[in-house]
Each structure stands twice: as structure tokens, then as C-alpha cells.
Symmetry: C2
Subunit: 219 residues, 2 copies
């Protein structure tokens, strides 16, 4: 069956979440890298836990909660101004260098963004990147308030597209997102930007690429 739509995860896949490092380093010298790493870990953990608990709040809130925890854990001084400044970096994350040309190459397919990000953080990010016109839809789990990798979240993307599962190629650099999408029935391409092993969850990706350039073979 031919792939009709390419569905892209956002954080870590199209945009580098660790581009917050520079601002973190400016505010907290020698802690930029640790803040960036831990912030991302706690952001993911909190989204998983809120899905498991059934205590959904938007990803912008999850992201802010994770940042606050991170700064406290690292025993750094926390002010609301610093939180605000760091949260703003999430609206201007660096897009990975190959993204624009890959989207141009694949422009004959339906191109869709599908993210845990709520629209208050997702829309400004895509807008400032200059890529907004490339995408048919910016699908957020906030519409149904169920985080990836819960099956209901992938179902929401499927419903939005009105296709069959196997007509969708889903791309993410996040192993947990690939296993969720694979479990749901999408075709999956893992963008393994960090050279990590495949997750030991018996849900191997259909394809593995070093960056998004690899997906042009689905043209």
C-alpha cells in the first residue's frame, strides 16, 4: 500500500530541544547542559505520568513544571523571570538543518505535524521556523487531551487524516514515540539522531535513518 501522508513528530524530530542549552548556560553558567538534559527527561516523565494518572494538563504546563523541578533538583535559584525566559526558548528552538529541503522534496505527499505540544507552544514554533506553509495540519494531542504514546493519541492523528493506518508513515526521533506508533499500526521511521540502540520493546521501527534525509526514499 502506498504511503499517502508523512506525519512528523516535532520535539527532537524537526526541532532540537537542546537548543535551550545556550540560554540556560547564560542564566546559569556551567549548568546549561545539565538543565537541558534533565528538563527534557522530566518533561517526558511528567507527560507519561499525567497520561497514566489521567491528570492531563497541556504540554506547555508540563514543560514549565519540568523546568521548575529541574532547577530545584540542580539546587539552582529559581525566579519566575528565569522560568519565563527559559520557557520562551521553547518557541524558537532550532530546526534541524535538513528539514526544509526534505519537506520540499516530499511536497507531493500530505505533510502533517503531530505533537504532544499544545497549540500555545506548537503553533508559534512552527510559524517562526518558516515551515508552516509546508504542512497541511498541525495536529496536537491537546485536542483530545491524551498524550502520546497512548493509542488514543495516534487514533486522533488517524481520524484527522481520514486514511488507513498503513497509508501513514510516522517519523520520530523518540524511541518511545516510534514504539507507540508501531503498536498502533502506523508505518514507522525512527530518526535515530543520537545513534542509540533500538528500544527493547518488541516493536521495532520499519526503517531507521540517521536524519530525515533518509525518508526521501519514500517519494
Amino acid at each position: 500500500m502506498t504511503i499517502q501522508a508523512l506525519v512528523f513528530d516535532v520535539y527532537g524530530t524537526l526541532f532540537d530541544v537542546h537548543s535551550v542549552k545556550e540560554q540556560a548556560e547564560a542564566l546559569y553558567p556551567d549548568h546549561g547542559e545539565a538543565i537541558s538534559k534533565r528538563w527534557r527527561e522530566k518533561q517526558l516523565e511528567y507527560s507519561f505520568l499525567r497520561q497514566l494518572n489521567g491528570q492531563y494538563v497541556p504540554f506547555s504546563q508540563v514543560t514549565q513544571d519540568a523546568l521548575r523541578y529541574t532547577l530545584l533538583e540542580l539546587k539552582l535559584h529559581v525566579t519566575e523571570e528565569q522560568i519565563t525566559t527559559l520557557m520562551e526558548t521553547y518557541l524558537t528552538l532550532d530546526v534541524y538543518p535538513e528539514v526544509s529541503s526534505v519537506l520540499e522534496t516530499m511536497a507531493d505527499k500530505r505533510l502533517v505535524v503531530f505533537s504532544n505540544g499544545s497549540h500555545d507552544m506548537l503553533d508559534p514554533l512552527i510559524e517562526q521556523s518558516g515551515l508552516a506553509d509546508r504542512f497541511e495540519h498541525l495536529v496536537s494531542v491537546d485536542d483530545i487531551k491524551q498524550y502520546k504514546p497512548a493509542p488514543a493519541s495516534y487514533m486522533h492523528a488517524l481520524n484527522t487524516l481520514g486514511l488507513k493506518r498503513e497509508e501513514i508513515l510516522f517519523m520520530s526521533s523518540n524511541g518511545w514515540d516510534i514504539t507507540g506508533a508501531k503498536s498502533f499500526g502506523f508505518k514507522t521511521a525512527w530518526i535515530n539522531r543520537n545513534g542509540l540502540p533500538v528500544e527493547e520493546l518488541n516493536l521495532d521501527p520499519d526503517r531507521i535513518y540517521d536524519d530525515l534525509t533518509g525518508i526521501t526514499e519514500w517519494q
Copy 2:
């Protein structure tokens, strides 16, 4: 309302999961600490993801999968013999030093273990610790195949005890377990062995203690 039963998490709460470090160091010199840390992280991540995906396998399998991933990620040589040797350390984890005397002090309450561990790993661990006689029940989520912190898991503990939620004091050193139990309606005591901040999930524990000694105030 008086507390009738004390319900104890196992891994990290009664037993030190990082006591695997010594054997890991013996097998992989200079990597013991990294293996121990990453193994635990992936073990938790995989239990969360399998609960979110609805792809339950017993915790002994999750633990083994997490170990395999960890060794691969650290680019260490993996043999089945090394996996087996490290998995066996999980059956003889060190019990924290205060546990035995605290259980003795609280012996007039119903004392129960409640763990994500499957019985194949949970029962031998408790047995070899010499604490088995202290506990009325060893409750495993494997009976219902839903991992903590899913609400159904805490419900299973509640059903086993036949009490009201607020008659149960639940203890864990794991922040995600405390927020899950609190969300479900148990009284919670967070055993904050590592001096961490409270999780930013709006589900603060009722009490916080440095180790289990603190719970003797509920006598």
C-alpha cells in the same frame, strides 16, 4: 480516620536497587555505576511505556529488556551469561538498614508489600531478606497486569486489603509512585532517600521522611 494498613513499595523503598552496582562493576570495570543508574531508568521507562501501550509483560521481562538496552547503549559486550548473572542480583538486593526494626515497631498494623515486581522476582527477594513473616500479603500488579502508577494497580491493592482508601498509608521512595497513590486516594508518605524536590505534579505527599524510621509516628 485511623491508619489500618501500611503498604510498602519494594524497589528503592525497602531494597536498594543500586546494590546491583558491585556485580556490574565486577563484570564491566568502570561501568558499574552507569549500568546501575541507566538500568533503573530504562526499567521504569519500559514499565510506563508498556502500561501506556497496553503491552504488558511481567516486570522480570521488563527488567531484563532494560538491562539489555542499557548494556547496548553503553556499547558494552552482551552475553546471555552476563545478563543472567546481573538479573540474579535483583533477587538479593540489599534491604535498607532501618527496615527490619521499623517493621517490628509497626507490627500491630497490617503490613503489606505492593510492587510492580512479578512474583518470580518479588517472592525470592522478600524470602531471602528474612522479612517474609512480617508481611500479611505480597501484592503484585502482575495479578491484574497493570503497572503502577495506573489507577487500576492501586485499586488492586485496595481490593486485596478490603479497607477504605484513607485507611491505607502507602510508602514509596519513588516520586512517581507517591503521586500515583495520592491521585488514587491513599495517604502517602514519601521516603525521600535522595533528598530530591517534591514532584511538580500537584499531588504532594502527606508526609515526607528521610528514611522509613519516620513512619513510626503513625504507630
